[in-house]
Amino acid sequence: MKLRKLLNGILALVIAGSILLVSDLENRKGKPEKAASPSENAGQHAIKGRIYKIGFTYFAPDVALDMTTKGLWEGLKQLGFVIDSNLLVISQHANGEMANLQPIHLNMDSQDVDLLLVTTTPGITAALSTVKKHPLVFTFSYTPLAAGAGKSYTDHLPNITGVGSFPPVEKTFDFIKDILPDARRIGTLYNSSEANSVKVMEEGRKRAKMKGLELIENTVINSSEVYQAASALCMKNIDAVWITGDNTATQAIHAIIKVCRDNKMPLILNDVDYVAEGAMAAVGIGWFSTGFHTAPYVARVLNGESPAKIPIENFVEEDISINDVVAKKLNIKIPDKYRMGKNVRQKPFNPPVRIAMVHYVFSPDCDDVTTGILARYKETGHIRDKDFIFDEYNANADVGTLNTVARVVADKKYDLIFVTVLAATQALVSKISNVPILFTVVADPVGNGLGKSYNDHKSNLAGIDCMAYTDEGLVLLQKYIPGARTLGVLYCPGEMASVSGLRELEQSCKNKNIKLIAVPVNTVSEVVDATTMLCMKNIDAISQMPDNITIPGFSSMVKITRKHKVPLFCYISSQVEMGAIAAIAGDFVQQGREIADVSFEVIKGKSPSAIPFSRIKQIRTVINPQAASAYGLETPKAVYDIADHIVKNGQLQKNELPTKKIQ
């Protein structure tokens, strides 16, 4: 009898389990695997059992080159060539010295390899004169023809082929004219013995003249001269500096960045990979794509095809990247058309991309991220349910459900997963290792074990952290209250993002010699009391970071701080609309848009491992003059001049004041 009752329970389990299995029928392996379609490029794929060897030479270690090789290895992997498994790479570099290029190629020619992969224009020249035994494939070169590879893309030397990437020079000047309408004299710096730079400068002079600009040139011979040459260049009464992908100059790019920073000179590059290091912007080449595009060339030659029959190609994926922090420091306004990079319609995805969006809790910031992602997909011309399928999951703040969600998402075999909040990211990462996972609303991803560093992280994971720009926020605050000595903040000890944010704010305050009083809150209902308590502590202002407690409780913070006349500053624009005085805003909607841009790269085939974790790129100064007067503060003129948005009557409006002219 008892056994029968137990059977009842087991029966219930079996029924539930079967329902689950029936919903999962599509994943059954019963169907035969799709037969591999006979590809017209059969020669691109690795032959089983064969070990391939590549000799790889380059000028010097370099960020942009790293991106190119990352793209190349990724592309080769998809064709069946896996590094250290059936593909061995012997590499050597010239230590940044032109004179070393010949000897390393001579050495490589004597090695037992299937082909030589050469990079940079001077590298091609050196290889052409020394390498006799092996076919050559090049990439990461502006002007392979100027290097002597041939007369034209189809009529070239028989032992060489590859992919060249001529920089978008005209676009660069258009961009400079757009952001600096008054600019006349553009300074530049290059090594006149690099054929690539000479060619780019020829083009540059021509284009500059057409656009009514004057190109002021300075030449260098090796990278140790760069610092001095850059300083001298800045003295020549120029309006901006443009550095193209000159190998010598890029070796010393940090020196150029420093000189430009010291002289308050906008620095525009053709290499997007250096923008994060402190250049103002780059109108450049997405080198990962170039590398990826080179993979079939390498593969065909590896399989024995003669380079003579493979035409050379010029391939450039244009990519505009802007460093907002630097632009803000220079008081440069970026026109909207450059916001979010290129706003061109992406190619429709075919078949539709299957996307999962995973949240742990319902919260305004996570909702904003979803809004941003969908808005960005719409802007780029993607239609929901036609170009992409977007399934939303929310664990409803229940950790058991969260784990089940992770299972479901793993099971449904999505192409791409967006996730918000640390816990949900961790739950997904521990279950899924073969689908790209892109996170947002995670503070301090490295401190929380998602990677060893921003560049070195799990191969299927990438994302944008949600740390606020506290340094910039305090600068803004001090424009209102120059004598601020003591600041207050509420934080939530139970929320990792809030605690990490607090640490950043503490550091920023320390640098500015400001005392910070932090009061913990654990539930939304405590916000009122905690704010009142904070206001009693004789503070000059509150600099409030966004978290899951103070976001919903923000209106009460506004009410109480106004009563006590304690100025309230924040880091998201919706809170300025609600009545805070001003913010350096890195909004969650914006995070969503930026992560959507990352997803486009991933969909195109870029591996998340090649995408460093990053901080939100676009920040805006948002001010609310009416709120300022409610606190008895006046909005300084200087703040009006730098504000991107002004809140009037609770409505966010673009600041239409003319930008301050740059001296």
């Binding site: 009842n8 389990l13 950790v399 089940t404 299972r407 099971d411 816990a423």
Partner: protein, 313 residues
Amino acid sequence: MSLLIGSITIGLILALLALGIFISFRIFDFPDITVEGSFTFGASAGAALIVAGVNPLVASLVSFLAGMAAGAITGVIHTRFRINPLLAGILVMTALYSINLHVMGKSNIPLLSETTVFTWIENLSNRVSGIDARTIIIGWEVATRDLWLLMFCFLAILMFCCILWWFFKTNIGTAMRATGDNDQMIRALGVNTKWMIIAGIALSNGFVALSGAMLAQYQGFADVQMGIGMMVWGLASVIIGESIINDRSVGMVIAGAVIGSVLFRLLVAIALRWGLNPNDLKIITAVFVFIALILPGLLKYRKRLTLKRGAHA
């Protein structure tokens, strides 16, 4: 299929929680909210120890003891200071929030690169069946290590159920059950019911904390918020199991708690798998649970109906 296996695994891990709640709620009739704190307490203590390099099994054991300590405090507050059981639980749960933050030093500890009980099982699977091996079960391909994890969880739960069943048959276990059923009677027999309650609530929270520690290791992190809602779901599991099995003997109720927990996770998985609007997840779950609760009764009613008809014919 891997979703089915994963859901059963999660259900089994959370069955420990259901067993804990069964002790406090069913044996002692004590609505114990400490659970929401002690679940996290187990997870945070376990995670902190594992990060410090302690053997994960030892860390899990310490979590069990930590949970017992938390439960004992609730018991003492209730019995010695005559504070309402609900309030006693609320007090300890609230205090545990701060303690958990201190134990972890922050609000979240990642275990992704640490060695846990489950990485042992995974390594074992890799050694026995090969790295990243896959098994085909009636047409579905699943990772072999998931099967190993499921097997491990099943055996572990089976062991705990047997221990618990045996314990409630011993003298002290029987006295505990009697304390819940009829405390005047058992007091008349010379048993100190206060101590019984303290020990029982401690044992209950020990299981809850162990469940938290196991879940943290399974999902790869401990988070200070992870206890939220656990009490309600654990309770739901116990009651689902009870109503389906419909037998009050100790062994059956224990089995019911485990079945209820697994069934509950399966229902959530179905709701999620159907890709419903996430806003509706909870209402769907509620409806599923409702159906699971009334289905046995309905079946019986139909059976009676057919019997009656048979008699008339």
